[in-house]
């Protein structure tokens, strides 16, 4: 069947529209981890210590949702405000291994394309090459925070002790829906991961990728690109603004969350310690604190670290200026480059959202951010568009029935949801159930562990003190002890 949309069209979806194309996404499992690359995390309220969950799904979800531009761009339902319409466009139904179940929405006739490069000879899945002028810009060391999305090829066996699938699958990409990933909220420690770093993307073909940069590259190789329809100048601007954020804003954010004494002790450390499982919660936050401190020292030099006032005045001033610049650049637009989000939006959002939502005791930067109304609205709108579950909604895990469209997980939900959050209300009641549900796998595991430890202790003591012994064929040394003891007991009795 001929492909109705020319692949070279700049707004065409990145994946071929042939109805029988079988896109088999790699099994992308992303395991969050509170480590270096993503220092910023935030719970939606103080009681939801999900540091591991949140920055990642936010960024990833935003990024991945924007990765494939839908065929009918003129009215992109992605970007309308209500989650209901979001679901209506991007139904949670079809799982990647059932591609034919869902009839594709009819692609609209494309507007006349600009002078295109020669189109590929035939329409095959994943054969679309991006137009030469819009090479994706992947900035050097920008932690694009893609994480936490896992497709639901549901035959992948997910050990429930480690993973908790958080959200529904996305439709298969031929519908121009979001990338087929599902966020997996991991509250396990990073240790089981091969590289010990989060975010990590586990792919079918290439193992686990743990650097955000590489994750983005991988996704781009899979033809998911949020920057596909940016002009060259806009791509250049993306690179520039990413550098601005990384140089001016990120170190100060790290400082606010991790180095500033009050914030660290009262908020960040407690937050991480509550979520990271035993025994890592004793030393992992401290290790991260030290690592961030060292990093800042290297970046800023020693005289800043020692002179608090100077640091405050100058560096925070620059960070505030950076926020103001972002606000000016955003203006009254919905996203940085018009009406459709790009990777810059994902990055800016990932930096700003934790700052906006976290309850920091020492929050000067936060106050400045809150005074910039358009940035606040921007964050809230992205949050509501792409992270509806994180707003406090609980989704119930419909256990083994994998054909169900809406898979979710009982999150440990906030009992106190911040006022600014758009998705409050009804889900709140279910929140408490969710909280218990979340605890269950861990509770059982903890119980089991404690029982085992107790048993082991008792047995060990019994063996060591000779109360119990293993009788061997001959008279072994172990045999003598109980005999001796028995003799002693007999003597005592006597």
């Amino acid at each position: 069947t001929p492909c109705p949309i020319t692949p070279s069209h700049p707004i065409a979806p990145l994946v071929s529209c042939a109805p029988d194309c079988t896109f088999s996404p790699s099994h992308l499992v992303v395991l969050p981890c509170p480590v270096s690359l993503l220092p910023l995390h935030f719970p939606l309220s103080h009681h939801t210590p999900c540091p591991i969950a949140l920055p990642h799904p936010i960024v990833t979800r935003v990024l991945l949702n924007t990765l494939i531009t839908p065929p009918h761009l003129t009215a992109p339902p992605f970007f309308c405000a209500s989650p209901a319409s979001l679901h209506s466009y991007a139904p949670l139904l079809p799982l990647p291994h059932h591609p034919p179940l869902h009839p594709p929405p009819p692609p609209p006739p494309p507007p006349p394309p600009p002078p295109p490069p020669p189109p590929p000879p035939h329409c095959t899945p994943l054969s679309i090459t991006p137009t030469p002028h819009s090479t994706p810009f992947v900035p050097a060391h920008s932690p694009f925070l893609i994480t936490q999305f896992v497709p639901l090829p549901l035959h992948c066996s997910v050990p429930t002790s480690l993973y908790t699938p958080v959200t529904a699958s996305c439709p298969s990409p031929k519908h121009g829906g979001p990338a087929p990933c599902t966020p997996h909220l991991l509250s396990a420690a990073p240790l089981p991961l091969p590289s010990g770093h989060l975010p990590a993307l586990k792919t079918r073909d290439e193992g686990t990728i743990s650097k955000p940069q590489q994750i983005i590259t991988h996704l781009r190789k899979q033809k998911y690109n949020a920057d596909y329809d940016l002009s060259a100048t806009q791509s250049a601007d993306t690179l520039a603004f990413v550098s601005l954020l990384e140089e001016k804003l990120l170190p100060v954010l790290i400082h606010t969350f991790w180095v500033d004494a009050k914030n660290y002790v009262e908020h960040t450390r407690k937050w991480y310690a509550e979520t990271i499982p035993f025994p890592l919660n004793f030393f992992l936050p401290n290790a991260m604190h030290k690592r961030h401190l060292e990093r800042l020292q290297l970046m800023w030099g020693d005289d800043y670290m020692e002179d608090e006032e100077k640091l405050e005045k100058e560096l925070y001033r620059e960070a505030r200026e950076c926020l103001t610049l972002l606000s000016q650049r955003l203006g009254s637009q919905k996203f940085f480059f018009g009406d459709s989000p790009a990777s810059l939006d994902a990055l800016v959002f990932s930096r700003l959202a934790p700052l906006m939502k976290a309850k920091l005791p020492n929050g000067k930067l936060q106050q400045h951010l809150k005074s910039l109304q358009n940035l606040c609205n921007y964050c809230t709108s992205i949050l509501s568009l792409y992270f509806p579950w994180d707003g406090g909604e609980s989704l119930t895990l419909q256990g083994g029935d994998r054909a169900q469209p809406a898979l979710g997980l009982r999150l440990s939900l906030p009992t106190r949801i911040p006022a600014g959050d758009p998705l409050t209300g009804a889900p709140r009641a279910a929140g408490t159930d969710g909280a218990e549900g979340e605890e269950d796998p861990h509770k059982r595991r903890k119980q089991l562990l404690s029982v085992l430890v107790g048993l082991a202790a008792m047995l060990g003591y019994a063996f060591l003190s000779g109360i119990v012994s293993i009788q061997r064929g001959g008279v072994g040394p172990a045999g003598r002890q109980p005999v001796a003891l028995e003799e002693e007991e007999e003597e005592e009795e006597e």
């Binding site: 690179l239 520039a240 140089e247």
Partner: protein
Amino acid sequence: MNLGFLCSTAEPWPENAALYQQLKEEQILLSDNASSLAVQAFLQMCNLPVRVICRANAEYMSPSGKVPFIHVGNQVVSELGPIVQFVKAKGHSLSDGLDEVQKAEMKAYMELVNNMLLTAELYLQWCDDVTVEEITYPRYGSPYPWPLNRILSYQKQWEVRRKMKAIGWAGKTLEQVLEDVDQCCHALSQRLGTQPYFFNKQPTELDALVFGHLFTILTTQLITDELSEKVKNYSNLTAFCRRIEQQYFEGHEKDSSTTAAHSSKRSLLR
């Protein structure tokens, strides 16, 4: 960074303002030369006279440890950012005519250059073993006797490598670094387009910074020409460098023997 200058805004720009950098012929390295040239270009664009003084210990004299720094009146200010603010406090500014969005973009692009080009230059001269052995070690410690020159070089290299690790560049290969330089140049080239300067028809500090880095890269001979090749791919950037050189440095070069300056720049890191 030095904010003390804010109190001395009343004084006009003195005649004997001086810019300090390392010794041009023997000591200065790629990244320092780029920064110094950027500041010189900026001051030229503002029409502020400044003498360039080369000292072997310029790095240690500088308040922040970075070259170049300027000595104006009784103020010492180092690095382009603070110098721009200082000059602005004195009443000269290149970016006043820009609107808010353009100012944001200008700052973003300046950070891009700092983030990518400067870091790539630092990487090349301190983390690439061949370049380090053949160029950096001999140059960096050249004013000092053995063993001090070696010790200082090792110390600086260790510092730079730690910083690279902190920002995540330690694991990069040279090809990746060159790739980043290419992307950065691509972005700059896109932004410049066919305009004479980055914003309108007037140069700004962004132009000075880009000129400083690109000119240095283009005119410096390293072990291989890969870095300058990356920049040469973009003809509007080379034309931009040439234009600024002709406009702001021609007169300057006539004072200090032109050909010598040119050839010294060309054989800068030999």
